[in-house]
């Protein structure tokens, strides 16, 4: 039967994606000044490895690699939901202005809070998340006209907010020392800088919940894809469903942004790649987006850490350099 064949194919694609993600994870763990063999990995787990090896892998490499993976998942999931809710292929977390909001707060923290007063490893992720959530909420409030928001208005207002907030950030950056300026510039370009086991734990729990929510809502997302009137006709409370799913999207990208900075391109391209692989049905698309996001960010992380080692290229730039040509290729083919 045709339907069954299709489902089998989708399952196979997802399994392959998961395998690719694992492979990329392994490569990323191995990328760097010191590579780690399977044997050494076993030693680390059994506790017989040397202290320096354990330190390199457990304290430095793994949190960094897992953070990259989770950032990719968050952005891709967010883009997937935003494109679904707005029925707009160009939607991504950056378009809502939430990265710009996070960037502004991060820059303001560096300018106005004296160094050493609050540990930045704690403050910056919190501020970044608060900035994204605040801007998303502001954009949503502004988009409500006659008691109803429309995705189109939400995106337009997001673009305006992003532009305004970025300008404000640039203004703040003019007052910075060279070191601070470089840090914020790096942050905006997208760098994994909040890598710690604590952040990995928060991100994995948060994103697991959000991804589960998105998967649970996949049939509602499918119905929303038919347009507002048809979705209402099928019994979806469209404003409520949109608000809830947008909130999930903002949560996912806010978490990613808190430790990964102003990466946005990942959120735009990953859903397109995933759709190419499994089609528009969100039942398959949500898991596919999670996996594609993980793979793309792991690949970007490998390049970012090895290409100019020991210097690091902001991973957002690498992700864009990898993603853009593929994106153009997809658009040229469709």
């Amino acid at each position: 039967m045709n339907e069954r064949k299709k489902r089998l194919r989708t399952g196979a694609v997802l399994a392959m994606l998961a395998a690719v993600a694992l492979l990329a994870l392994w490569c990323d763990i191995n990328a760097g000044y010191r590579s780690i063999s399977l044997e050494e990995l076993g030693q680390i787990f059994s506790g017989t490895a040397s202290q320096s090896l354990t330190y390199t892998l457990v304290d430095l490499r793994l949190p960094r690699v897992l953070t990259s993976l989770l950032v990719g998942v968050g952005l891709s999931l967010s883009g997937c939901l935003l494109q679904g809710v707005s029925r707009n292929d160009m939607a991504d977390p950056g378009v809502l202005g939430i990265n710009a909001g996070a960037g502004l707060l991060v820059a303001a923290f560096i300018v106005f809070v004296p160094a050493g007063l609050v540990p930045s490893a704690v403050a910056l992720p919190l501020l970044a998340f608060a900035g994204s959530a605040a801007v998303a909420f502001l954009g949503w409030r502004l988009s409500v006209v006659r008691g109803a928001s429309s995705p189109r208005r939400l995106l337009l207002i997001g673009v305006a907010l992003a532009t305004g907030l970025s300008s404000a950030t640039s203004l703040l950056m003019l007052r910075m020392s060279d070191g601070d300026y470089a840090f914020v510039q790096n942050w905006i370009a997208g760098s994994i800088w909040g890598a710690s086991w604590g952040n990995v734990a928060i991100l994995s729990v948060g994103l697991a919940l959000l991804a589960f929510g998105a998967f649970y809502a996949s049939r509602t997302l499918n119905v929303l894809g038919l347009g507002e009137a048809a979705a209402t006709g099928l019994g979806v409370n469209v404003p409520r469903a949109r608000a809830a799913l947008t909130a999930v999207a903002v949560g996912a990208s806010g978490l990613a942004c808190a430790v990964g900075g102003g990466l946005t391109f990942v959120g735009l391209v990953c859903p397109h790649m995933a759709r190419r692989l499994v089609g528009p049905n969100f039942r398959a698309l949500v898991p596919a987006c999670v996996l594609v996001g993980a793979v793309l960010m792991l690949l970007a992380d490998i390049v970012s850490r090895t290409l100019l080692a020991p210097n690091e290229i902001p991973v957002g730039i690498v992700a864009a350099v990898i993603g853009a040509p593929y994106f153009l290729y997809l658009l040229a083919r469709s």
Binding site: K5, Y216, V223, G233
Partner: protein, 304 residues
């Protein structure tokens, strides 16, 4: 569920009428068609003093309107007369300025939207499916209001989906993407989705627009089959007057946001009404095949 009795109904159609005595068996008087009629006693869908507009702009003047149960109702009228708006207002896809809509006698505004969707299906004008969505997937979405949790299709769901596909002759197309279908097939796929919703009432907004004559007929014959064999109540907005007259039991003619006539095709398809509603001089004769009124020729009505 409370069925409206005749007295309730007459009140709703008589604005500012004095307190009506409790008489149930009295025939109904309907101001929209200016006469007594029984078919409204158990209308499937009924709007009372329904109005729609933005700010000062009135799209639908307060009107009483009913979709008789078990029949095919066509809403006709010139461009911009508010006929699609009326359908949207009745199907809760456009907010009302005033009045209320009743589905099986219950106010829609007070029903959960999923419950409404289990009783009334809606096919919007020129609906768009996401690229790559297959016919089978689209039709399966029709089960949405009946599903819970993750929405795994039950055997019941699958049976109804298969039925909807087969009655619309799309059984062989289930795995085909919607965007690869012809216009007529695509319209049938959307109708199949509405059928999978398994409702007694189906509203369709211009289901024949952009189709050639043969495909228009195909869609209307399908609707007629559903009406006759499955007892579905159907209401549609349609531009083609001859098709409306041929397939409808009831017609509602709108102009400038107000009902100008409602009745059987023979009552609505008259030169006087077409002149009033469309500004046309119409030559109407009985169709020799169907005996329904048929517009043979027409010209713009001259000034008088």
């Amino acid at each position: 569920m409370k069925k409206p009795n005749a007295a309730d109904f007459r009140d709703s159609f008589r604005e500012g009428a004095p307190e009506a005595p409790e008489v149930v068996d009295e025939p109904l008087f309907c101001e929209t068609c200016d006469r007594t009629c029984e078919r409204f006693a158990d209308a499937a869908l009924r709007g009372e003093a329904v109005s729609v507009g933005y700010g000062d702009r009135v799209i639908i003047e307060p009107m009483d309107v009913a979709v008789p149960a078990g029949e095919i109702t066509s809403i006709i009228g010139p461009n911009g007369c508010g006929k699609s708006t009326l359908l949207k207002a009745l199907s809760r896809t456009m907010p009302l300025c005033g009045g209320a809509v009743y589905l099986d006698g219950r106010a829609i505004a007070e029903m959960p939207t999923a419950e409404v969707a289990r009783k009334m299906a809606l096919l919007p004008q020129s609906p768009q499916a996401p690229a790559g969505l297959t016919v089978g997937e689209l039709v399966a979405l029709g089960r949405y209001p009946h599903q819970k949790g993750f929405g795994r299709l039950t055997d019941d769901d699958k049976r109804i989906i298969d039925w909807a596909l087969s009655i619309t002759h799309l059984g062989d197309f289930a795995a085909r993407p919607i965007d690869a279908l012809s216009g007529g097939q695509r319209q049938r796929a959307w109708i199949a989705m509405a059928l999978a919703q398994d409702t007694g009432l189906i509203l369709l907004d211009e289901p024949t627009t952009y189709l050639d004559m043969a495909h228009q007929l195909e869609v209307l014959e399908l609707l007629q089959t559903l009406n006759r064999d499955q007892g579905k109540t159907i209401a549609l907005v349609i531009h083609e007057l001859n098709l409306a007259a041929r397939f409808s039991d009831w017609m509602i003619a709108l102009k400038a946001g107000a009902i100008r006539g409602a009745g059987t095709p023979a009552e609505v398809m008259t030169p006087a009404l077409l002149r009033e509603v469309f500004g046309l001089d119409a030559l109407i004769v009985p169709d020799p095949w169907t005996a329904r009124p048929s517009l043979v020729s027409y010209r713009l009505a001259g000034e008088e």
